[in-house]
Amino acid sequence: MILADITISEAAAIGLVIATIQFATLLYLAALGETIAERAGVLNLGVEGMMAVGAVTGYIAGAVSGSPWIGLLVGALGGALLASIHAFVAVGLGADQVVSGLALTILGLGLADYIGADYTGDSRRAWFADVDIPVLTDIPWVGETIFAATPVTYLAALLGVSTWFVLNRTAIGLGIRAAGESASTADAAGHSVARIRAGAVVVGGAFAGMSGAYLTNTLVGTSWSQGVTAGRGWIAVALVIFGAWRPGRVALGALLFGFTLALQLRLSGFGIDFSPILMSMAPFLMTIIVLIFISYRARNKPSPAPAAIGIPYRREER
């Protein structure tokens, strides 16, 4: 009954796909960063804060310089800088990761609001233009949607493939995964757990910062406003679990979550009588269901969750 009178024009459908890809890019960057940190054994609940700092620093840098690339770079630096606090406190000092991560979110949101206070409503802006790929962009439908994205989408895809490659096909990746599964094993094998974990957290922060910069340099009409991240950092945290800590599955999850975000803005336009707000709950509820499923299956075989996640590691313990 809900689907009784759906009328979707081709333009609206193309718009939906484009928005899906945009939201997926945003979520994927942040979730990929969190995936790296968690695979190394560090839960970082500061994604929302790192995204906010990336959003404000990325916006300011982009607006002032006029170059969205500089915005993206500065956003990544901002995110990485904030993440380094978590790396120092939760990895270096061995404090509880949950507490430190949540404090990071509070700090990041606070800092972003404080820094951004003077830029609210600023009219300067820099934005990423869509990439025009010869031939591909001319393909009907596909060209107008998938091959009409901004460079950041391709960058996100490239980072996803690179992350997969590093995690699964390199010596460093073996060390990262070992640090996340059994820190003492990684240590005994000669990897520096502290360095791996701190590195993963900082890189994760850079990705979240990039995601924030993408948000303010492309997605929301290229501007900064208080609360611009709007809980999307939490969706990214959910996405990591939804994608079972694997870059590829996280990408599929990002498309699905991105679709729900894109669709909820268009429900009434499509004549679908379903509350967009209820729909916005979907990513969180789906993640809970996936998590329950994972835990249920983990009775017979090892869980896909990194076994050492959340456990601080310090060697000389006795």
Partner: protein
């Protein structure tokens, strides 16, 4: 070649935690000052104003007490779960859903007398919070599903649920500019007891004290302690972990939900998404600073209440109230750093390796 490492002290420094807390506070003020200086805000004026407008007079002190109320309850909720090694990251959602449930009761009991309605609404809040935490507690107890993630996810769901009600079922027909929920019945307002401080302050601190006492002197508290210290040992002693996990999560949720009910009847006139200004998250920091001890939770909540009330006051001199959030997080980071240094010392060690 020298390398710096942390070495555990043979005996931890005396009075570690209060000292670490003070050190964290000082460090936070210092870092905050640097931040203010960089952006050209008047440091001294900001800090003195924050102090005056939170602790400088009876009137503002009562506002601080009101603000400390949900922080103390959220902090208690977190520390109750933590006694068993559980992380309730969902106090925020439980506060929101508690307030939603209290609003629901208020809509039913529109015509009831004030005291009856208030009690019913507060109970409704507690039950709502308990229900919101029961799901995560149940799947944790039965399947071992991480309560960290489930409670976290439900925060976002509770937030959206209020937005949904605001735009639909509970929309106030008289709200013209943007959708709001109908105000709660007027007679459901908690009375004030001292200046602006409302009755909820007493309720909250009584709940904190009651839990602290009961946990120490009851069989239940003892069983909880064992379950928290070592789940396998608890199973050995015949303590049912499943029931304890569920029970503790429900109680934790009820305490947070009560905070939602108190906020609704004490400081708000209607339910909206801002009824909890991040109290659930701040409560986690409060509990962590208090080392999960209820008595400590009360003290830290009062301090955080003051920082938050002071933070709001600096908006009028043109400084963003975001400073308060920054300070709260910095206090925690500073205290963690100082806490680690009180039980470890930094040592330089020599390193020399010759590959063979």
């Amino acid at each position: 070649m020298k390398k710096l490492v942390l070495v555990r002290r043979e005996t931890p420094t005396r009075g570690g935690q209060p000292a670490a807390f003070v050190a964290g506070f000082i460090l936070a003020l210092g870092l905050g000052a640097i931040l203010l200086l960089i952006s050209g805000d008047p440091v001294w004026e900001v800090y003195t104003r924050m102090f005056e407008r939170s602790l400088g007079s009876k009137d503002v002190m009562s506002a601080t007490l009101n603000r400390a109320t949900p922080l103390a309850l959220a902090g208690l909720a977190v520390s109750i779960a933590a006694t068993m090694g559980l992380w309730n990251i969902g106090a925020e959602g439980q506060i929101l859903f508690g307030a939603t449930a209290a609003t629901f009761v208020g809509r039913i009991g529109e015509d009831w007398s004030g005291p009856v309605l208030i009690i019913a609404m507060l109970l409704g809040g507690a039950i709502g919070g308990a229900l919101w935490a029961a799901g995560p507690g149940l799947v944790r107890a039965e399947l071992g599903v991480s309560e960290i993630i489930t409670t976290l996810m439900l925060n976002e769901v509770a937030l959206r649920l209020i937005r949904y009600l605001q735009n639909g079922r509970w929309k106030d027909p008289e709200g013209l500019l943007f959708p709001v929920i109908e105000p709660r019945p007027v007679q459901s307002g908690l009375g004030t007891i001292w200046e602006r401080a409302h009755l909820g302050v007493v309720i909250a601190f009584a709940v904190v004290a009651a839990f602290a006492w009961f946990a120490k002197h009851s069989v239940w508290g003892y069983e909880l302690k064992i379950a928290g210290a070592s789940p396998k040992t608890a199973a050995y002693a015949g303590i049912s972990m499943r029931r304890k996990v569920l029970g503790v999560m429900v109680l934790s949720g009820a305490v947070a939900g009560l905070a939602g009910g108190i906020e609704l009847t004490g400081t708000a006139t209607r339910l909206d998404v801002n009824i909890s200004s991040g109290f659930g998250f701040a409560g986690i920091i409060v509990a962590a600073l208090a080392l999960m001890r209820p008595s400590g939770v009360a003290v830290v909540a009062l301090l955080f209440g003051a920082v938050q009330v002071g933070g709001i006051s600096i908006q009028s001199i043109g400084v963003s109230s975001a400073v308060s959030g920054v300070l709260q997080a910095l206090i925690l980071f500073g205290a963690i750093g100082a806490g680690v240094l009180s039980s470890y010392r930094v040592q330089a060690v020599e390193r020399k390796v010759v590959a063979t």
